[in-house]
């Protein structure tokens, strides 16, 4: 699960990570009020930031034509004007897809003077099965590009989960960023907090980009998490009630939310051949084989090991609500499940949804002969495939003929 920037900053602040003072709001008037408060405290510049789950907001364009989802303002009236232009409008960025995302919340925060920009992230290193913190002096830019062109500019510290991140590791990283004097201790405290946020929230990734040396209203330099992104481990959400409440359903695809209600793992793609498969690996492989034979998969859909009648019916309904879908490939390896029961479920689902597009079914496994017989005698105009390759070719050809 992903959360918004303002939510990520709330979590980070709970663990002692300095973030620019600010608040979230959903009306232009409230934005103005927050800005007035910040200016009154001596801030010279305020930033208005669109809260959507997609990067590249600053360089994005609203469908209204308004340029930029992140704006710097010198007055509260300017904040009111920019907030009015953003709220309720759809922002398109390089990560949002062409359909864009509706901006319904804004973060209004202090925009202190920035002396230097760094990068910091905590994530799981799969090779060592341990967390790593990585920092770079190349902040505010695309870190993947840095990794490719200047890998030596990324410094990593592996963390022993038995003791957690130790202060010396944070100081090492601070030194690697070229920090001196008081800033070393200041950065070390912040980095420890970033790690603690990652570990205690069961995050999949915490990214601070940029992490900045900023000048406060008092003229003192300090580290601050100017932007933040947090992704969470879905498997661990059950033990974080506060984080569950941060879920923003408006950011998720409606069909994916519907699918999750039936324990179906569905991801919508751009193609026109839907697939319904049991098992994640087989579901991926089914998408791959559709493409291999010249088709274009419309979704990833794993119905799990069971593939009950209720699940198959729900899955058909979800597949059919995607208007791009022109054909369906069902690929079930009934290991333990009786293929005949699965066949009965498919027939019921076809009847209940009044299916009118080509359906290719490939069943394999337990009691498969009876299952195929049931399908053949159903009177439905479905096509059966013997192997995955056979079924994939048949569905690609059936859709091609439409």
């Amino acid at each position: 699960m992903n959360i918004h920037e303002y939510q990520a900053k709330q979590l980070l602040a709970q663990y002692g990570v300095a973030v620019p003072p600010g608040e979230v709001c959903d009306t232009p008037e409230a934005a103005k009020k927050i800005a007035e408060g910040l200016f009154a405290k001596g801030e010279k510049l305020v930033v208005v930031k669109s809260q959507i789950h997609a990067g590249g907001r600053g360089k994005g364009t609203f469908k209204s034509g308004f340029q930029g989802g992140v704006k710097l303002c010198k007055t509260a009236d300017d904040v009111l004007e920019k907030a009015t232009a953003m709220l309720g409008n759809v922002l398109v960025t390089k990560q949002s897809g062409p359909e864009g995302k509706l901006v319904s919340k804004l973060l209004v925060a202090a925009a202190p003077e920035i002396k230097k920009e760094f990068y910091c992230a905590v994530l799981l290193d799969r090779a060592s099965s341990r967390p790593i913190m990585m920092v770079s002096t190349e902040g505010g830019v695309d870190i993947e590009e840095v990794a490719e062109k200047n890998p030596e500019k990324i410094v990593k510290e592996t963390i022993d989960p038995a003791v957690g991140m130790m202060p010396y590791q944070a100081r090492k990283l601070a030194a690697a960023l070229g920090l001196k004097g008081d800033l070393i201790g200041n950065a070390a405290k912040l980095l420890m907090g970033v790690y603690k946020t990652w570990w205690e929230s069961d995050a999949a990734m915490v990214e601070i980009n940029p992490l900045c040396i900023v000048v406060g209203p008092d003229g003192k330099e300090a580290l601050s998490a100017v932007d933040a992104k947090i992704g969470l481990d879905d498997n661990a959400l059950y033990r974080h009630k506060n984080i569950q409440e941060m879920r923003d359903l408006a950011e998720e695809a409606p069909l994916e939310i519907e699918a999750s209600k039936f324990n179906l793992n569905y991801i919508k793609l751009d193609g026109n051949i839907a697939c319904l498969v049991n098992g994640a690996g087989l579901a991926m492989a089914t998408m791959d084989i559709i493409q291999h034979f010249g088709g274009n998969p419309a979704n990833f859909l794993d119905v799990g090991g069971g593939a009950s009648k209720e699940q198959v019916t729900a899955a058909f309904k979800i597949i059919l609500s995607d208007k791009n879908v022109k054909g369906i490939l069902v690929n079930i390896f009934g290991g333990i499940m009786d293929c005949n029961i699965i066949a009965t479920g498919i027939i019921a689902a076809v009847k209940e949804t009044h299916l009118s597009i080509p359906l290719v079914v490939r069943l394999e496994g337990n009691n498969v002969v009876a299952g195929q017989k049931t399908l053949a005698e159903s009177g439905l105009s479905l096509i059966t495939g013997d192997t995955m390759a056979d079924a994939a070719q048949k569905v690609v050809s059936a859709v091609g003929k439409i």
């Binding site: 799981l124 799969r126 090779a127 099965s129 341990r130 967390p131 870190i143 993947e144 990794a147 022993d160 989960p161 038995a162 570990w199 069961d202 999949a204 481990d233 879905d234 498997n235 661990a236 059950y238 033990r239 793992n265 991801i267 793609l269 498969v277 049991n278 098992g279 994640a280 690996g281 087989l282 579901a283 991926m284 492989a285 998408m287 791959d288 084989i289 559709i290 493409q291 291999h292 998969p297 990833f300 794993d302 090991g305 390896f333 290991g335 333990i336 394999e364 496994g365 337990n366 192997t387 995955m388 390759a389 056979d390 994939a392």
Partner: protein, 299 residues
């Protein structure tokens, strides 16, 4: 021989009284596997009965292992308690723990891996179908089945299968069996980002097993475990290896069902893994329908 387990391996089941654990314990008993004990805290002294077999239930793994001589565990414990169950199996000194549970928090597994350092127990999984060493009987009856794989699709023979995915393993096994080719052992290592045993660990065991003559390795997007195995195979493996990688069409940044199946930061793509396979001389099945044929052509 085989790897990890033989038909004689004595197996205990943690979470034997849950509906999922109970169902698959019944199937393992029907398959002829040596299920000697169950463990459910608070239900010690009760008996798990199926098909005329009486399996004693114990409160702790240590007790179960001591009294029955079990050396392997099948873990069917719900996600919040699974890390604890794995560590209990390790503490009891079992040779093998196979964790079927899907949905364990990643940080729990990070802790488990750290706690396992220096221990002798081998962990397979989590989020995996388990292990099958096929038996000599009809439909491979009499083999050792730990986990949730359908037993009857197997056939005793000389091909080793290792995979991150359950149903793709069954697909490969069934292709082999339909061609009259049997398997030495089939191992599902699981779809999570942190697991006990890697592709490479299993490949090394297959390489050392005289009964294994060829290997099918099935991978998917995410991580770099397939590349690591390929590099080792290139320099060391004496046996033909065929492989398949799932997820060539998966969009970057999305988890494809398995927690570990994600392309992030341009890393873990199917293209990179397929290139590593080809470079190592591993036969690449262009589609999942050709996994068995790709290997058989090499043998």
């Amino acid at each position: 021989m085989s790897i990890l387990v033989t038909p004689q391996t004595k197996v205990l089941v943690q979470g034997v009284t849950g509906s999922f654990g109970a169902r698959h314990t019944q199937l393992s008993i029907e398959y002829g596997s040596q299920i000697v004990a169950g463990v459910t805290p608070g239900k010690g002294g009760q008996v798990f009965e199926h098909a005329g077999k009486k399996v004693p239930i114990f409160d702790t793994v240590a007790e179960a292992a001591q009294q029955t001589g079990a050396t392997a565990s099948a873990i069917f414990v719900p996600p919040p308690f699974a890390a604890d169950a794995i560590l209990e199996a390790i503490d009891a000194g079992l040779a093998l723990a196979v964790c079927i549970t899907e949905g364990i928090p990643v940080n729990d597994m990070v802790k488990v891996k750290r706690a396992m350092e220096g221990k002798t127990t081998r962990l397979i999984g989590p989020n995996c179908p388990g292990i099958v060493t096929p038996g000599e009987g009809k439909d491979s009856h009499g083999g050792c089945r730990i986990g949730i794989a359908p037993g009857y699709i197997h056939k005793k023979g000389n091909i080793g299968v290792v995979s991150r995915s359950g149903t793709l393993t069954y697909e490969a096994v069934w292709q082999l069996t339909c061609r009259g080719v049997g398997q030495s052992t089939c191992v599902g290592i699981g779809g999570d980002p942190v697991n006990g045993t890697s592709h490479l660990d299993v490949i090394k065991m297959f390489n050392d097993d005289p009964e294994t003559h060829g290997i099918i390795m099935i991978g998917e997007i995410g991580g770099a475990a397939e590349e690591e195995a390929a590099e080792w195979i290139k320099a060391n493996c004496k046996k033909p290896v065929a492989g398949f990688i799932a997820g060539a069409t998966a969009p970057p940044g999305r988890r494809m069902g398995h927690a570990g199946a994600i392309v992030s930061g341009g890393k873990g793509t199917a293209a990179a893994k397929i290139a590593a396979f080809k470079d190592a001389g591993i036969g690449v099945a262009v589609t999942p329908s050709e996994m068995a044929d790709t290997l058989l052509k090499m043998m």
